[in-house]
Subunit: 387 residues, 2 copies
């Protein structure tokens, strides 16, 4: 093992991966993405984790120099793997949802005699059920995320723009230990640390399937705050990522300036009510789609459907798994086939866009337990005045 | 065209892409990466840019809603492209160095009757020669990058750690308009906004082929500052990314605290001397490898080879193209086959790691012109005391 302090937990993960390979009839998997290198090694490195169906592992490392461990083999190029393997796998899984075509072509030659299959969904499924150690890491992130948000009142100043406020929140998070990066599965989604949205900008459609959009500062990154001055009557949604240790929490809280719009108030309260209801409903065995349906029912009952999960452009889910990446399984969407399991960690984000006012509704991160959802992002839920 | 203000420049790029396709015997290219969507559309969107060998273009857009333009076609899924094309391409290029295997499989079916070839190198080559408009954007970034660095003296406080200083530099850059994100070609390299390195941490190997490493704060992002307190006798390397408008500048400057180590002083001066020499040598037609060789010769002459481009782990280049991504062509490495061209924009970074002291040497961004290299990151080059 590369890192002893997580050795026990890595062994649990490797055993689960091995068992999943065996049950699919695969002999091995070659891990290539940073997210799954971290998951299988406890650290990011340049190289490959090679796991067999019996749970045995070899780390083929290019960089950094100096990693120690029984299972570490240094290589300069992937072609050396072929010589280092004592037994060639009959069927080997690759991460076909993240591996590029050119890298695939090169690695295919290394495993020229093997049948190559897609192992992406095995890892996605396993990673969606966190170990006790991983949940501990996420709770740590949640505490720091909360702590950073507690200073938002202090840093707000009259006349700030959304971006100016965001920059100060970024600094709060970094001072609290945020690593800054925000891992998103699928390389095409780009965002920087999160979003602060207010006023009309909250209703600007973005290129991404995010609950909220925002025009952004530049056409090269057209998402999030756009320099809108925060003015009385607006709501201010703070949706920043909490990644303090490789495991993320997702938490959105909302503030207002001056007078709180009645519709915004009602929508925010509806969001909180949805959370409180889903905390009870979200148990192992419950379909993820059921949580979406409940949120939609409560939204329709409140007459807020037009504003739900966006206005000009809508997102088609009310929550998602979170962990090493921010968009893990399960997906809480109408047609999701995911079933909640004990150890899932999910972010719920029933939100509303009120035209000309801004976005409202909270997002919190929860662990799925036998007793329902356990919240790990505990900043107060109510919409609060900034002054 | 999607965005009129860059329309003329986008047309130039599309013509060049069309001509390159034609000269390779390709009928069309389907652009899928955010970097090249931005290059070909002037904005990032979710979807595809489809360019024919005659330079004609169609933007197949999934999100955001509301983009206007003669060439914009809205789609829900890529399969619709097949019906919307009036003429099927015989040979179509994809971006095989960034497209994932699973996305490739899906898109291949859309172009079932076409031969699929790799268009990655065409785009890499074209993007390495910037248009006048692009150079203007990079100069803008350089001015802001410089302006942010001018406040470093003001924000430094005795007793800071590397990360505490970095957080304040991040804030300076963001207040100056930095978009924060740092586009790196190849998804496996991760870094957050740049690095501040001091003392022994500058010699910690990272997973990446970066000139300098650093252990980082966490095993999930093992690069950059690690919380080292900045102490007298150390150098402090500030290597932060400047991305203010989708086009990046790369600039490293170095400071010291207390007494400046003699070897560090000499190495820093050697780096500056290399820059001044390369500014004259770097002209169109010169092999990129020649610049590396000169830097190495000057380093050997100064007796600094052991410390050049890292100490425990070395990087194999002294510079790289920069633009929409931070690792573009040309590559300034011993075996590089790249030849400098007018309009290349390159970052030169001959750097040294002095054990126990820190890293020294500057990085600046230059435009390749007929008269040599024109510097666009003009913060003073000398090593300066922080107090």
């Amino acid at each position: 093992m590369i890192q002893s302090y997580v050795e026990n937990d890595i062994n649990i993960r490797l055993e689960r991966i091995g068992a999943a390979l065996a049950s699919n009839g695969y002999d091995a998997i070659l891990i290539t993405s940073n997210a799954n290198l971290y998951y299988t090694a406890g650290r990011v490195f340049s190289g490959y984790t090679y796991i067999c169906a019996d749970g045995s592992v070899t780390y083929f490392v290019k960089r950094p120099v100096g990693l120690a461990g029984d299972n570490v083999q240094y290589i300069r190029k992937p072609e050396q793997i072929a010589d280092l393997l004592t037994q060639k796998p009959g069927k080997i899984a690759f991460e076909l949802d993240s591996l590029t075509v050119n890298d695939f072509a090169r690695l295919s030659k290394v495993f020229g005699e093997s049948e190559i299959v897609d192992g992406s969904s095995i890892l996605r499924k396993l990673r969606s059920v966190k170990t006790a150690y991983e949940i501990g890491k996420m709770k740590e992130s949640g505490v720091k995320h909360d702590e950073a948000y507690r200073h938002i009142h202090r840093i707000y100043r009259d006349g700030m723009t959304d971006i100016e406020l965001q920059i100060e929140v970024e600094r709060l998070l970094r001072m609290e230990g945020s690593l800054g990066i925000f891992r998103i599965h699928g390389e095409s989604m780009e965002i920087f640390m999160g979003n602060v949205l207010c006023g009309d900008n909250a209703d600007s459609p973005s290129p991404y399937d995010f609950a909220m959009g925002g025009a952004g500062l530049d056409a090269s990154l057209p998402v999030g705050g756009n320099g809108t001055p925060i003015k009385p009557g607006m709501t201010v949604m703070v949706d920043m990522c909490g990644n303090f240790n490789g495991y993320m929490t997702d938490m959105t809280r909302v503030f207002y300036v001056g007078k709180l719009d009645e519709m915004a108030k009602k929508a925010h309260e509806t969001s909180i009510a949805i959370h409180h209801r889903l905390v009870k409903e979200g148990k192992p065995g419950v379909p993820a789609s059921r949580l979406y349906d409940i949120a939609m029912e409560m939204t329709i009952e409140a007459g807020l459907e037009d504003f739900f999960m966006g206005h000009k452009q809508k997102a088609g889910y009310i929550g998602h798994g979170v962990g090493i990446e921010v968009n893990e399984a399960p997906v809480l969407a109408p047609r999701s086939r995911d079933i909640l399991e004990s150890g899932n960690v999910i972010a719920l984000e029933p939100k509303y866009v009120i035209p000309h006012v801004g976005a409202v509704g909270i997002e919190s991160t929860y662990v799925v337990t036998d007793n329902g959802l356990e919240c790990i992002t505990n900043y107060p839920e109510e919409i609060a005045e900034l002054y």
